[in-house]
Protein backbone atom coordinates (compact mmCIF):
# COMPACT_ATOMS: atom_id res chain seq x y z
CA UNK A 1 0.00 0.00 0.00
CA UNK A 2 2.70 2.32 1.08
CA UNK A 3 4.87 1.34 -1.78
CA UNK A 4 2.14 1.78 -4.25
CA UNK A 5 1.38 5.22 -2.98
CA UNK A 6 4.94 6.36 -3.21
CA UNK A 7 5.29 4.82 -6.61
CA UNK A 8 2.15 6.58 -7.64
CA UNK A 9 3.40 9.84 -6.29
CA UNK A 10 6.70 9.42 -8.01
CA UNK A 11 5.00 8.60 -11.23
CA UNK A 12 2.85 11.66 -10.95
CA UNK A 13 5.77 13.91 -10.23
CA UNK A 14 7.65 12.50 -13.15
CA UNK A 15 4.71 12.77 -15.37
CA UNK A 16 4.42 16.37 -14.48
CA UNK A 17 8.12 16.93 -14.90
CA UNK A 18 8.24 15.21 -18.21
CA UNK A 19 5.16 17.10 -19.31
CA UNK A 20 6.53 20.46 -18.39
CA UNK A 21 9.90 19.43 -19.75
CA UNK A 22 8.09 18.69 -22.97
CA UNK A 23 6.59 22.14 -22.87
CA UNK A 24 9.89 23.72 -22.01
CA UNK A 25 11.58 21.82 -24.80
CA UNK A 26 8.86 22.94 -27.12
CA UNK A 27 9.75 26.48 -26.28
CA UNK A 28 13.47 26.15 -26.65
CA UNK A 29 14.54 23.30 -28.81
CA UNK A 30 11.53 21.87 -30.53
CA UNK A 31 9.73 23.04 -33.53
CA UNK A 32 6.51 24.83 -32.68
CA UNK A 33 4.03 24.60 -35.51
CA UNK A 34 2.21 27.61 -34.10
CA UNK A 35 5.30 29.79 -34.03
CA UNK A 36 6.28 28.55 -37.47
CA UNK A 37 2.84 29.31 -38.83
CA UNK A 38 3.03 32.85 -37.51
CA UNK A 39 6.52 33.54 -38.81
CA UNK A 40 5.74 32.19 -42.26
CA UNK A 41 2.66 34.39 -42.26
CA UNK A 42 4.76 37.32 -41.08
CA UNK A 43 7.29 36.67 -43.81
CA UNK A 44 4.56 36.86 -46.43
CA UNK A 45 3.30 40.05 -44.80
CA UNK A 46 6.74 41.66 -44.95
CA UNK A 47 7.00 40.92 -48.66
CA UNK A 48 3.53 42.44 -49.03
CA UNK A 49 5.02 45.62 -47.57
CA UNK A 50 7.43 45.92 -50.49
CA UNK A 51 5.32 44.32 -53.19
CA UNK A 52 3.02 45.98 -53.73
CA UNK A 53 2.87 48.11 -50.56
CA UNK A 54 5.91 50.34 -50.84
CA UNK A 55 5.82 50.20 -54.63
CA UNK A 56 2.34 51.73 -54.59
CA UNK A 57 2.99 54.15 -51.75
CA UNK A 58 5.91 55.61 -53.67
CA UNK A 59 4.46 54.94 -57.12
CA UNK A 60 1.38 57.06 -56.45
CA UNK A 61 3.51 59.96 -55.24
CA UNK A 62 5.48 60.48 -58.42
CA UNK A 63 4.33 61.97 -61.67
CA UNK A 64 2.69 59.73 -64.26
CA UNK A 65 5.83 59.54 -66.35
CA UNK A 66 7.88 57.98 -63.55
CA UNK A 67 5.58 55.54 -61.84
CA UNK A 68 6.95 52.47 -63.60
CA UNK A 69 10.51 53.31 -62.63
CA UNK A 70 9.42 53.16 -58.99
CA UNK A 71 7.66 49.84 -59.42
CA UNK A 72 10.70 48.48 -61.21
CA UNK A 73 13.08 49.56 -58.48
CA UNK A 74 10.94 47.78 -55.90
CA UNK A 75 10.63 44.66 -58.03
CA UNK A 76 14.34 44.48 -58.66
CA UNK A 77 15.11 44.88 -54.99
CA UNK A 78 13.13 41.72 -54.40
CA UNK A 79 14.94 40.12 -57.32
CA UNK A 80 18.47 41.15 -56.51
CA UNK A 81 18.41 41.02 -52.72
CA UNK A 82 16.22 37.92 -52.84
CA UNK A 83 19.08 36.07 -54.50
CA UNK A 84 21.92 37.89 -52.71
CA UNK A 85 20.47 37.07 -49.33
CA UNK A 86 20.66 33.35 -49.98
CA UNK A 87 24.09 33.55 -51.56
CA UNK A 88 25.88 35.71 -48.99
CA UNK A 89 23.66 38.19 -47.21
CA UNK A 90 22.27 35.90 -44.55
CA UNK A 91 25.71 34.58 -43.72
CA UNK A 92 27.18 38.06 -43.45
CA UNK A 93 24.39 39.19 -41.17
CA UNK A 94 23.74 36.09 -39.10
CA UNK A 95 26.88 33.99 -39.42
CA UNK A 96 28.87 33.96 -36.20
CA UNK A 97 31.62 36.31 -37.33
CA UNK A 98 32.75 39.03 -34.98
CA UNK A 99 31.06 41.96 -33.28
CA UNK A 100 30.93 43.96 -36.52
CA UNK A 101 29.89 41.52 -39.21
CA UNK A 102 29.06 37.86 -39.71
CA UNK A 103 31.13 35.43 -41.72
CA UNK A 104 30.91 33.22 -44.78
CA UNK A 105 30.04 30.05 -42.90
CA UNK A 106 26.49 30.03 -44.19
CA UNK A 107 27.14 31.10 -47.75
CA UNK A 108 24.52 29.54 -49.99
CA UNK A 109 22.77 28.49 -46.76
CA UNK A 110 25.42 25.81 -46.28
CA UNK A 111 24.65 23.47 -43.43
CA UNK A 112 20.99 24.34 -43.12
CA UNK A 113 18.46 21.57 -43.66
CA UNK A 114 14.73 21.21 -43.12
CA UNK A 115 15.53 19.97 -39.64
CA UNK A 116 17.72 22.89 -38.58
CA UNK A 117 15.93 25.02 -36.04
CA UNK A 118 16.37 28.62 -35.03
CA UNK A 119 14.63 28.75 -31.68
CA UNK A 120 11.27 27.07 -32.21
CA UNK A 121 11.08 27.64 -35.93
CA UNK A 122 12.93 26.10 -38.86
CA UNK A 123 16.02 28.10 -39.72
CA UNK A 124 14.78 28.27 -43.32
CA UNK A 125 11.84 30.26 -42.03
CA UNK A 126 14.12 32.56 -40.06
CA UNK A 127 16.34 33.06 -43.11
CA UNK A 128 13.39 34.05 -45.23
CA UNK A 129 11.80 36.29 -42.60
CA UNK A 130 15.08 38.20 -42.32
CA UNK A 131 15.44 38.13 -46.08
CA UNK A 132 12.26 40.12 -46.47
CA UNK A 133 13.71 42.81 -44.20
CA UNK A 134 16.78 42.93 -46.40
CA UNK A 135 14.58 43.32 -49.47
CA UNK A 136 12.56 46.25 -48.20
CA UNK A 137 15.36 48.28 -46.61
CA UNK A 138 17.21 49.42 -49.73
CA UNK A 139 13.89 49.89 -51.52
CA UNK A 140 12.89 52.39 -48.84
CA UNK A 141 15.69 54.65 -50.03
CA UNK A 142 14.51 54.97 -53.60
CA UNK A 143 11.97 57.60 -52.64
CA UNK A 144 14.79 60.04 -52.02
CA UNK A 145 16.14 60.00 -55.56
CA UNK A 146 12.90 59.14 -57.33
CA UNK A 147 12.21 60.68 -60.72
CA UNK A 148 15.88 61.01 -61.63
CA UNK A 149 18.18 58.09 -60.80
CA UNK A 150 19.13 55.75 -63.62
CA UNK A 151 18.30 52.09 -63.26
CA UNK A 152 21.80 50.68 -63.70
CA UNK A 153 23.41 52.78 -60.99
CA UNK A 154 20.46 52.08 -58.72
CA UNK A 155 21.00 48.37 -59.10
CA UNK A 156 24.69 48.70 -58.33
CA UNK A 157 23.96 50.97 -55.41
CA UNK A 158 21.55 48.70 -53.58
CA UNK A 159 23.66 45.65 -54.32
CA UNK A 160 26.68 47.22 -52.65
CA UNK A 161 24.72 48.97 -49.94
CA UNK A 162 23.14 45.77 -48.70
CA UNK A 163 26.57 44.22 -48.18
CA UNK A 164 28.37 47.26 -46.86
CA UNK A 165 25.70 48.94 -44.77
CA UNK A 166 22.81 46.62 -44.09
CA UNK A 167 24.40 43.26 -43.31
CA UNK A 168 26.87 44.71 -40.78
CA UNK A 169 24.16 46.73 -39.03
CA UNK A 170 21.82 43.76 -38.91
CA UNK A 171 24.63 41.69 -37.45
CA UNK A 172 25.51 44.34 -34.90
CA UNK A 173 21.95 44.54 -33.62
CA UNK A 174 20.38 41.15 -34.24
CA UNK A 175 23.24 38.82 -35.14
CA UNK A 176 25.13 39.00 -31.90
CA UNK A 177 27.19 42.09 -32.70
CA UNK A 178 28.29 44.96 -30.53
CA UNK A 179 25.12 47.05 -30.51
CA UNK A 180 23.25 44.17 -28.92
CA UNK A 181 25.98 43.80 -26.31
CA UNK A 182 25.93 47.54 -25.81
CA UNK A 183 22.31 47.19 -24.80
CA UNK A 184 20.61 48.96 -27.69
CA UNK A 185 16.95 48.03 -28.00
CA UNK A 186 15.80 47.75 -31.58
CA UNK A 187 13.05 45.20 -31.59
CA UNK A 188 12.06 45.23 -35.24
CA UNK A 189 14.48 47.58 -36.90
CA UNK A 190 14.21 51.27 -36.12
CA UNK A 191 17.98 51.53 -36.34
CA UNK A 192 18.79 48.72 -38.73
CA UNK A 193 16.02 49.33 -41.23
CA UNK A 194 14.59 52.82 -40.95
CA UNK A 195 17.38 55.01 -39.70
CA UNK A 196 19.94 53.29 -41.88
CA UNK A 197 17.85 53.75 -45.01
CA UNK A 198 16.53 57.18 -44.04
CA UNK A 199 19.91 58.73 -43.35
CA UNK A 200 21.51 57.06 -46.35
CA UNK A 201 18.65 58.37 -48.45
CA UNK A 202 19.35 61.92 -47.37
CA UNK A 203 22.93 61.67 -48.54
CA UNK A 204 21.81 60.16 -51.82
CA UNK A 205 19.21 62.90 -52.38
CA UNK A 206 21.84 65.57 -51.88
CA UNK A 207 24.52 63.86 -53.94
CA UNK A 208 22.21 63.20 -56.87
CA UNK A 209 20.94 66.77 -56.92
CA UNK A 210 17.49 68.18 -57.37
CA UNK A 211 14.97 67.31 -59.98
CA UNK A 212 14.69 69.90 -62.74
CA UNK A 213 11.99 72.38 -61.80
CA UNK A 214 12.01 71.39 -58.14
CA UNK A 215 10.80 74.23 -56.00
CA UNK A 216 9.57 76.12 -59.05
CA UNK A 217 6.72 73.98 -60.30
CA UNK A 218 4.41 71.79 -58.27
CA UNK A 219 5.06 68.07 -58.58
CA UNK A 220 1.89 66.65 -57.13
CA UNK A 221 1.30 62.89 -56.77
CA UNK A 222 -0.14 61.41 -59.92
CA UNK A 223 -2.45 59.11 -57.96
CA UNK A 224 -3.24 59.60 -54.31
CA UNK A 225 -5.40 56.45 -54.29
CA UNK A 226 -2.39 54.33 -55.24
CA UNK A 227 -0.49 55.93 -52.38
CA UNK A 228 -3.30 55.18 -49.96
CA UNK A 229 -3.47 51.55 -51.09
CA UNK A 230 0.27 51.39 -50.53
CA UNK A 231 0.08 52.93 -47.06
CA UNK A 232 -2.73 50.54 -46.16
CA UNK A 233 -0.79 47.49 -47.24
CA UNK A 234 2.25 48.78 -45.38
CA UNK A 235 0.08 49.05 -42.29
CA UNK A 236 -1.24 45.51 -42.67
CA UNK A 237 2.13 44.06 -43.57
CA UNK A 238 3.86 45.82 -40.72
CA UNK A 239 2.14 43.49 -38.26
CA UNK A 240 4.36 40.77 -39.67
CA UNK A 241 7.36 43.06 -39.49
CA UNK A 242 6.86 43.98 -35.85
CA UNK A 243 4.92 41.16 -34.23
CA UNK A 244 6.84 38.66 -36.34
CA UNK A 245 10.09 39.94 -34.87
CA UNK A 246 9.20 38.15 -31.65
CA UNK A 247 9.75 34.95 -33.67
CA UNK A 248 6.93 33.34 -31.75
CA UNK A 249 3.17 33.55 -31.46
CA UNK A 250 2.94 34.61 -27.84
CA UNK A 251 1.96 37.45 -25.55
CA UNK A 252 4.88 39.65 -26.51
CA UNK A 253 4.04 39.23 -30.15
CA UNK A 254 0.51 40.23 -29.21
CA UNK A 255 1.76 43.35 -27.46
CA UNK A 256 3.96 44.24 -30.42
CA UNK A 257 0.98 43.79 -32.71
CA UNK A 258 -1.33 45.92 -30.59
CA UNK A 259 1.25 48.66 -30.10
CA UNK A 260 1.92 48.77 -33.82
CA UNK A 261 -1.70 49.46 -34.56
CA UNK A 262 -2.19 51.86 -31.70
CA UNK A 263 0.84 54.02 -32.40
CA UNK A 264 -0.08 54.19 -36.06
CA UNK A 265 -3.63 55.19 -35.27
CA UNK A 266 -2.33 57.85 -32.89
CA UNK A 267 0.05 59.20 -35.52
CA UNK A 268 -2.79 59.48 -38.04
CA UNK A 269 -4.92 61.34 -35.51
CA UNK A 270 -2.02 63.57 -34.56
CA UNK A 271 -1.05 64.52 -38.10
CA UNK A 272 -4.65 65.17 -39.12
CA UNK A 273 -5.05 67.39 -36.09
CA UNK A 274 -1.85 69.30 -36.80
CA UNK A 275 -2.74 69.88 -40.44
CA UNK A 276 -6.24 70.94 -39.52
CA UNK A 277 -4.94 73.52 -37.11
CA UNK A 278 -2.07 74.57 -39.33
CA UNK A 279 -3.70 74.70 -42.75
CA UNK A 280 -7.39 74.62 -42.02
CA UNK A 281 -7.91 71.27 -43.68
CA UNK A 282 -6.58 67.77 -43.13
CA UNK A 283 -5.31 65.92 -46.19
CA UNK A 284 -5.46 62.31 -47.19
CA UNK A 285 -1.83 62.36 -48.15
CA UNK A 286 -1.08 63.66 -44.68
CA UNK A 287 -3.00 60.82 -43.07
CA UNK A 288 -1.24 58.24 -45.23
CA UNK A 289 2.16 59.76 -44.49
CA UNK A 290 1.30 59.80 -40.80
CA UNK A 291 0.46 56.13 -40.88
CA UNK A 292 3.89 55.30 -42.24
CA UNK A 293 5.55 57.65 -39.76
CA UNK A 294 3.70 55.96 -36.91
CA UNK A 295 4.64 52.52 -38.15
CA UNK A 296 8.28 53.49 -38.47
CA UNK A 297 8.42 54.99 -35.00
CA UNK A 298 6.84 52.11 -33.15
CA UNK A 299 9.11 49.60 -34.88
CA UNK A 300 11.97 49.63 -32.37
CA UNK A 301 9.64 50.23 -29.42
CA UNK A 302 6.76 47.88 -30.03
CA UNK A 303 7.73 45.25 -27.46
CA UNK A 304 9.02 47.64 -24.82
CA UNK A 305 6.22 50.12 -24.22
CA UNK A 306 2.68 49.77 -22.92
CA UNK A 307 -0.28 50.44 -25.16
CA UNK A 308 -0.63 53.87 -23.57
CA UNK A 309 3.06 54.42 -24.26
CA UNK A 310 2.52 53.51 -27.88
CA UNK A 311 -0.01 56.32 -28.18
CA UNK A 312 2.70 58.71 -27.03
CA UNK A 313 5.15 57.24 -29.52
CA UNK A 314 2.63 57.68 -32.32
CA UNK A 315 1.68 61.24 -31.49
CA UNK A 316 5.34 62.13 -31.11
CA UNK A 317 5.99 60.64 -34.53
CA UNK A 318 3.32 62.80 -36.10
CA UNK A 319 4.91 65.90 -34.64
CA UNK A 320 8.56 65.25 -35.44
CA UNK A 321 7.89 63.88 -38.91
CA UNK A 322 5.46 66.69 -39.73
CA UNK A 323 8.10 69.22 -38.81
CA UNK A 324 10.79 67.37 -40.73
CA UNK A 325 8.72 67.01 -43.87
CA UNK A 326 7.00 70.38 -44.03
CA UNK A 327 9.56 72.68 -42.44
CA UNK A 328 13.01 71.15 -42.24
CA UNK A 329 13.11 70.00 -45.85
CA UNK A 330 12.04 73.30 -47.44
CA UNK A 331 14.31 75.20 -45.07
CA UNK A 332 17.33 73.04 -45.85
CA UNK A 333 16.53 72.94 -49.54
CA UNK A 334 17.45 69.35 -50.44
CA UNK A 335 15.18 67.42 -52.77
CA UNK A 336 14.26 64.24 -50.94
CA UNK A 337 11.53 63.56 -53.47
CA UNK A 338 9.24 61.40 -51.36
CA UNK A 339 10.48 62.30 -47.88
CA UNK A 340 12.40 59.19 -47.01
CA UNK A 341 14.56 61.09 -44.58
CA UNK A 342 11.69 62.98 -43.01
CA UNK A 343 9.66 59.84 -42.42
CA UNK A 344 12.11 56.96 -42.04
CA UNK A 345 15.21 58.76 -40.86
CA UNK A 346 13.55 61.11 -38.43
CA UNK A 347 10.77 58.68 -37.50
CA UNK A 348 13.25 55.87 -36.93
CA UNK A 349 15.43 58.04 -34.71
CA UNK A 350 12.45 59.25 -32.76
CA UNK A 351 11.25 55.69 -32.27
CA UNK A 352 14.64 54.51 -31.06
CA UNK A 353 14.74 57.26 -28.48
CA UNK A 354 11.07 56.90 -27.56
CA UNK A 355 11.72 53.22 -26.87
CA UNK A 356 13.70 54.28 -23.83
CA UNK A 357 11.57 57.31 -22.97
CA UNK A 358 8.39 55.27 -22.64
CA UNK A 359 9.91 51.95 -21.67
CA UNK A 360 7.59 49.92 -19.45
CA UNK A 361 10.21 47.86 -17.61
CA UNK A 362 13.51 49.56 -17.01
CA UNK A 363 16.57 47.64 -18.07
CA UNK A 364 19.73 47.15 -16.06
CA UNK A 365 20.95 50.43 -17.46
CA UNK A 366 18.15 52.24 -15.71
CA UNK A 367 15.73 54.69 -17.34
CA UNK A 368 18.25 57.43 -17.96
CA UNK A 369 20.97 54.96 -18.82
CA UNK A 370 18.86 53.32 -21.49
CA UNK A 371 18.07 56.72 -22.98
CA UNK A 372 21.80 57.27 -23.18
CA UNK A 373 22.31 53.94 -24.90
CA UNK A 374 19.59 54.65 -27.39
CA UNK A 375 20.92 58.13 -28.13
CA UNK A 376 24.40 56.75 -28.67
CA UNK A 377 23.05 54.07 -30.98
CA UNK A 378 21.06 56.63 -32.93
CA UNK A 379 24.14 58.80 -33.27
CA UNK A 380 26.19 55.82 -34.40
CA UNK A 381 23.79 54.87 -37.18
CA UNK A 382 23.28 58.51 -38.12
CA UNK A 383 26.98 58.79 -38.79
CA UNK A 384 27.99 55.40 -40.11
CA UNK A 385 25.19 54.78 -42.59
CA UNK A 386 25.44 58.12 -44.42
CA UNK A 387 29.22 57.97 -44.41
CA UNK A 388 29.29 54.57 -46.05
CA UNK A 389 26.59 55.65 -48.47
CA UNK A 390 28.64 58.69 -49.38
CA UNK A 391 31.61 56.52 -50.19
CA UNK A 392 29.58 54.06 -52.23
CA UNK A 393 27.96 56.80 -54.29
CA UNK A 394 31.25 58.58 -54.82
CA UNK A 395 32.72 55.42 -56.25
CA UNK A 396 29.63 54.79 -58.37
CA UNK A 397 29.83 58.30 -59.77
CA UNK A 398 33.35 57.54 -60.93
CA UNK A 399 32.24 54.28 -62.46
CA UNK A 400 29.02 55.42 -64.12
CA UNK A 401 29.84 59.03 -64.81
CA UNK A 402 26.29 60.08 -64.23
CA UNK A 403 23.87 58.56 -61.76
CA UNK A 404 20.87 60.51 -63.02
CA UNK A 405 19.15 60.70 -66.38
CA UNK A 406 19.82 63.58 -68.74
CA UNK A 407 17.47 66.52 -69.28
CA UNK A 408 15.61 64.87 -72.14
CA UNK A 409 15.18 61.71 -70.07
CA UNK A 410 13.88 63.65 -67.13
CA UNK A 411 11.38 65.50 -69.30
CA UNK A 412 9.91 62.45 -70.96
CA UNK A 413 10.17 60.58 -67.69
CA UNK A 414 12.08 57.55 -66.54
CA UNK A 415 9.41 55.11 -67.66
CA UNK A 416 10.16 55.78 -71.29
CA UNK A 417 13.79 56.78 -71.03
CA UNK A 418 14.87 53.90 -68.80
CA UNK A 419 12.30 51.20 -69.50
CA UNK A 420 10.66 51.99 -72.85
CA UNK A 421 7.23 51.70 -71.34
CA UNK A 422 4.24 53.86 -70.53
CA UNK A 423 2.25 53.17 -67.39
CA UNK A 424 -1.17 53.94 -68.77
CA UNK A 425 -2.31 53.59 -72.34
CA UNK A 426 -5.83 54.78 -72.68
CA UNK A 427 -4.82 57.21 -75.37
CA UNK A 428 -6.10 57.68 -78.89
CA UNK A 429 -5.95 54.41 -80.70
CA UNK A 430 -6.56 52.40 -77.58
CA UNK A 431 -10.08 53.76 -77.12
CA UNK A 432 -13.28 52.05 -78.14
CA UNK A 433 -15.04 52.22 -81.52
Amino acid sequence: MFTRRRALLAALVWSAVSLSAGTALAQEDQLSAGDTAWIMTSTALVLLMTLPGLALFYGGLVRTKNVLSILMQCLISAGLIGVFWILVGYSLAFGDGNSIIGDLSKVGLAGITVDTLSGTIPEYVFVMFQGMFAIITPALMLGAFAERMRFGPYLAFIGIWIIVVYCPLAHQVWGGGWLADFGAIDFAGGLVVHMSSGFSALVAAIMLGKRRGYGKEPMPPHSVPLTVIGASLLWVGWFGFNAGSQLAADGTAGLAFLNTNTATAAAVLGWVGIEWMHHGKPTVLGAATAAVAGLVSITPACASVTPMGSIAVGIGASIVCYVAVTMLKPAAGYDDSLDVFGVHGVGGAWGAIATALFISETTDAGWGGQIGIQLASVAYVAVVAPLLTFIILTVLKLVFGNLTVDEEGEHVGLDISEHSESAYTGAPGAAAG
Binding site: P218, P220, P221, E275, H278, H279, K281, T283, L285, G286, T289, Y322, V325, T326, M327, P330, D339
Partner: protein
Protein backbone atom coordinates in the same frame (compact mmCIF):
# COMPACT_ATOMS: atom_id res chain seq x y z
CA UNK B 1 -22.36 77.58 -91.58
CA UNK B 2 -20.68 78.40 -88.32
CA UNK B 3 -18.94 76.36 -85.69
CA UNK B 4 -20.10 77.40 -82.25
CA UNK B 5 -17.50 76.60 -79.62
CA UNK B 6 -18.64 76.95 -76.02
CA UNK B 7 -16.44 76.64 -72.93
CA UNK B 8 -18.75 75.79 -70.03
CA UNK B 9 -18.73 74.48 -66.49
CA UNK B 10 -18.67 70.69 -66.48
CA UNK B 11 -21.79 70.19 -64.42
CA UNK B 12 -23.74 72.25 -66.94
CA UNK B 13 -23.07 69.88 -69.82
CA UNK B 14 -26.25 67.85 -69.48
CA UNK B 15 -28.40 70.94 -69.32
CA UNK B 16 -26.79 72.58 -72.31
CA UNK B 17 -27.11 69.44 -74.33
CA UNK B 18 -30.76 69.15 -73.50
CA UNK B 19 -31.28 72.79 -74.47
CA UNK B 20 -29.57 72.26 -77.80
CA UNK B 21 -31.39 69.08 -78.71
CA UNK B 22 -34.62 70.82 -77.77
CA UNK B 23 -33.76 73.34 -80.49
CA UNK B 24 -33.21 70.61 -83.03
CA UNK B 25 -29.47 70.16 -82.87
CA UNK B 26 -28.66 66.62 -83.91
CA UNK B 27 -24.96 66.43 -83.33
CA UNK B 28 -22.18 67.92 -81.26
CA UNK B 29 -18.73 67.13 -80.01
CA UNK B 30 -17.39 67.68 -76.51
CA UNK B 31 -13.99 67.49 -74.91
CA UNK B 32 -12.43 67.98 -71.51
CA UNK B 33 -10.30 71.10 -71.23
CA UNK B 34 -8.92 73.27 -68.49
CA UNK B 35 -9.54 76.95 -68.33
CA UNK B 36 -7.76 79.87 -66.81
CA UNK B 37 -9.61 83.13 -66.37
CA UNK B 38 -11.02 85.54 -63.86
CA UNK B 39 -12.51 82.72 -61.80
CA UNK B 40 -10.16 82.12 -58.96
CA UNK B 41 -8.90 78.59 -58.54
CA UNK B 42 -8.40 76.63 -55.37
CA UNK B 43 -5.47 75.76 -53.21
CA UNK B 44 -4.12 72.24 -53.07
CA UNK B 45 -1.81 70.92 -50.42
CA UNK B 46 0.92 68.35 -50.69
CA UNK B 47 2.69 67.52 -47.46
CA UNK B 48 2.48 71.05 -46.23
CA UNK B 49 3.34 72.67 -49.54
CA UNK B 50 0.42 74.74 -50.79
CA UNK B 51 0.00 75.61 -54.42
CA UNK B 52 -2.73 77.29 -56.36
CA UNK B 53 -4.54 75.39 -59.07
CA UNK B 54 -5.94 77.98 -61.44
CA UNK B 55 -6.48 75.77 -64.44
CA UNK B 56 -9.99 74.61 -63.74
CA UNK B 57 -11.84 71.77 -65.42
CA UNK B 58 -14.15 72.97 -68.17
CA UNK B 59 -16.03 71.34 -71.00
CA UNK B 60 -15.56 72.46 -74.56
CA UNK B 61 -18.56 71.91 -76.76
CA UNK B 62 -18.47 72.23 -80.53
CA UNK B 63 -21.60 72.43 -82.68
CA UNK B 64 -21.68 73.05 -86.35
CA UNK B 65 -24.84 74.96 -87.22
CA UNK B 66 -26.59 76.64 -90.09
CA UNK B 67 -25.98 80.41 -90.24
CA UNK B 68 -29.66 80.99 -89.64
CA UNK B 69 -29.59 79.12 -86.35
CA UNK B 70 -26.56 80.76 -84.82
CA UNK B 71 -28.25 83.37 -82.72
CA UNK B 72 -30.95 81.09 -81.40
CA UNK B 73 -28.46 78.46 -80.35
CA UNK B 74 -26.12 80.95 -78.75
CA UNK B 75 -29.06 82.08 -76.70
CA UNK B 76 -29.95 78.53 -75.76
CA UNK B 77 -26.43 77.76 -74.64
CA UNK B 78 -26.17 80.94 -72.70
CA UNK B 79 -29.44 80.35 -70.88
CA UNK B 80 -28.55 76.80 -69.97
CA UNK B 81 -24.91 77.36 -69.04
CA UNK B 82 -25.25 80.51 -67.03
CA UNK B 83 -25.07 80.43 -63.26
CA UNK B 84 -24.30 84.15 -62.98
CA UNK B 85 -21.01 83.41 -61.27
CA UNK B 86 -17.56 84.12 -62.64
CA UNK B 87 -16.24 81.24 -64.68
CA UNK B 88 -19.40 80.46 -66.62
CA UNK B 89 -17.30 80.55 -69.75
CA UNK B 90 -17.29 81.80 -73.31
CA UNK B 91 -18.90 81.14 -76.62
CA UNK B 92 -16.80 81.59 -79.75
CA UNK B 93 -18.35 81.64 -83.20
CA UNK B 94 -16.07 80.45 -85.98
CA UNK B 95 -16.49 80.71 -89.71
CA UNK B 96 -16.35 77.36 -91.46
CA UNK B 97 -15.28 76.86 -95.03
CA UNK B 98 -16.85 73.48 -95.62
CA UNK B 99 -18.18 70.36 -93.94
CA UNK B 100 -18.32 66.76 -95.13
CA UNK B 101 -20.21 63.78 -93.68
CA UNK B 102 -17.70 60.95 -93.86
CA UNK B 103 -20.25 58.18 -94.21
CA UNK B 104 -22.05 59.63 -97.23
CA UNK B 105 -19.73 62.26 -98.62
CA UNK B 106 -22.52 64.85 -98.36
CA UNK B 107 -21.26 68.39 -98.16
CA UNK B 108 -22.32 71.70 -96.76
CA UNK B 109 -25.55 72.14 -94.87
CA UNK B 110 -26.71 68.68 -95.80
CA UNK B 111 -23.79 67.26 -93.84
CA UNK B 112 -24.50 69.02 -90.56
Amino acid sequence: MKLIEAIIKPFKLDEVRRALTAKGVEGLTVSEVKGFGRQKGHTEMYRGAEYVVDLLPKIKLEVLVRDADVEELIGAIQDAASTGKIGDGKIFVHPVADVIRIRTGERGEAAI
